[in-house]
Amino acid sequence: MVTVTEAMAARREARTAGRRRVKAAPYLFVAPFVLVFAAFSAYPIFFALQLSFTNWHGAGALRVVGFANYRYLLASPDFWQSMATSGVLWLLVVPAQVLLALTIAVALRKARFRGLFSAALIAPFVTPLVAMAQVWIILFDKDFGAVNHGLTSLGLPAVGWLTTSVWAKVTVALLVLWRTTGYAVILLLAGLSTIPSDVYEAARIDGAGAWHQFWSITVPLVTRTLSFVVVIGTLTVFQLFAEPYVVTGGGPFNGTRTAGLYLYKHITNSDLGLGAANSMLLVLMVLALSVASIRLLRSREDS
């Protein structure tokens, strides 16, 4: 005969076994992702870290050089010039992109044919870059480009859009803005759609005007989406490679050699140790910039 105590113990054991079974399930579910992440993200990142302390050129044994790659880069004017170029492009692209995207998204929020506009806005993002870069080169040619033709017909001087290091940055920034702003608009439209309409209704009843509604309701309630847009923008600019590669080749005078393009040079030159160290420094910089941007926006959200 089974005693009450024994029966309770058996039930406890059964429950524990069930819990054990239940506990294993989540791990099994996430295992495929974890394995893929470990193989294709974690392993290469840790390997990059290891490589950054070597002078490996892709062949032969690894030779550890300590912090020499980092010292070289941090003392290299070329590295800092590439970072500065990316910094300038960030200033030219990200704030303008956020303002532009937010303005367009608010304007489109209740617009008719919103789907059509959204499709039109995303088109540059999916257009092959190389084709657009060629259009850009023709448009911004100093002597025969349509942009300078327009400027001179207005009595303004022609600009060396692709031939001076200052204006070449602006030309590249315009291409990046043109390509990526539509994507930011789509993100912000999604963010705006989560704001309940009765919030605006209440504000209107309280006498809030359009500007007041925008500043006190719209902006605070899409801050998280804006943070996301800023982080994506920051990542885009600091990894920027294709646009300057195709439009300016990093010139003139290395004036558009971005951090991404500078990194690419190490790879094509088989300087993998240096490339890995450069990657690590870039990751740190982007991380710091992204965190700072999020903090800045979050502090506004909190206030």
């Binding site: 392993y43 290469p44 990059a48 870290l49 490589l51 032969g60 690894l62 088989s270």
Partner: protein
Amino acid sequence: MINSVSSPVSRRTVLRGAGAALVAGGLGACAPGNTTGSDPLPTGKATTALSGELTIWDRTGDLYKVFDKAIASFTAKHPQVKVNHLAVDINAKLPATLISGAGVPDGAFYDDSLLTGVAPHLHDLSQLIEQYKPDIAPYKLGVVTVDGKVVAVPWDLDPGLLFYREDIVTQAGVDPASLTTYDALLGAARTVRDKFPQARPIHLENDQFLAQLWIDMFANQQGGAMIDAQGKLSIDSDPYRKALTWLDTVRSEGLGTLAKYTQPTDLQTQDKGTQVFVPWAQWFVFAPQQLLKASKGKWRAAALPAWQAGGPRAGVMGGSSFVIPAKAKNPELAWRLYEHLVFSKEGYTTVYGPNTVYPGGLNTSIPSYLPALDPDTPLFRPIDALGGQDLWKVAVEAGKQVPGGYAIPTWWGKAVDYFGVNVQKMLAGRLSPDEVLKTSATQIQKNLMGPS
């Protein structure tokens, strides 16, 4: 037809590939493999019929189609050989592939100027090339030889020529035959400008990579190179100084059109006739044939002017060769294919001769294999875009004059960031020739060669 790469890859290889991709993307790196470096490829002729499968990379575009036909002439002779011929952006993909070991082709077409950067990943072909050495243009043999080993099958020679607008030159009263020295060319440019005040007759290259390649052509013409026979930096030297001083004179006198090769300013000024003289590699001929409209048929080619009366009238700008990666699965078969393309009459005739892609033949370069360079046996036909001129004869005669003893340093590509950029600055009037040479020498020595 463009085939896809279907060779199996190991798990470790995939991981290395992922690592290489991540480095390129700014995050990761790749694993060191057991790269064999410059392994010598076995010699000796195969006694049995050739068989097996090959993966060959060529550049995308028309050149791919031309090589496709040439490869067909090889497989027709060796039906047991299957060639997966792929059109690839080789300059972008080959270095990463060689390092990662993933999807490595058995052979690839590759720029000579970038060759030294990947040399440790290539087979040493010295023994195989030995029998052909006397028949290879000395310049080209020097270019494919890295640390005493031949690391590529030498393909084409791209002699520099002087392209000019015959109609404008004639209207200005300049005799093209008189353009025998660079001083004479300068004089001709002044004459053209006097006649046509809008003219900026001489091309000045504004792309930093091409500018470096271009000035190397001028230096090569004078027997100079960035490094001397001992491997020491020799950029701050007379050949470079002479070339830069001449270009600076062109700039300062307003005799030059500063433009990037085949970019809108370049093409428009050539078509309008304000840009009249283009000292450039033979492959400039592509522009009159494919890109220029109004000036098609009005261009002509001559040997480059000499830097001193009676001096050499040729230098080389660019060129490509065939590489066989150390990790190729079927390197012997790749060698046999390239041997057919480069050193057999059937091979080089199939590439350069008239075909469905280029009805007049491939005329943007000439073979570097000297027995193919008979002025009286042209491989390609006279060119309508050059007013029916026989470019073959002009190019072959120039090609045979190209000075040898030229070597490309391993850091040539990296030097573009210094020398190429400084030349750009000079052409913008921001540096003097001496400043370009001294600054570049210091930068290259410090950043690319280490302390002397």
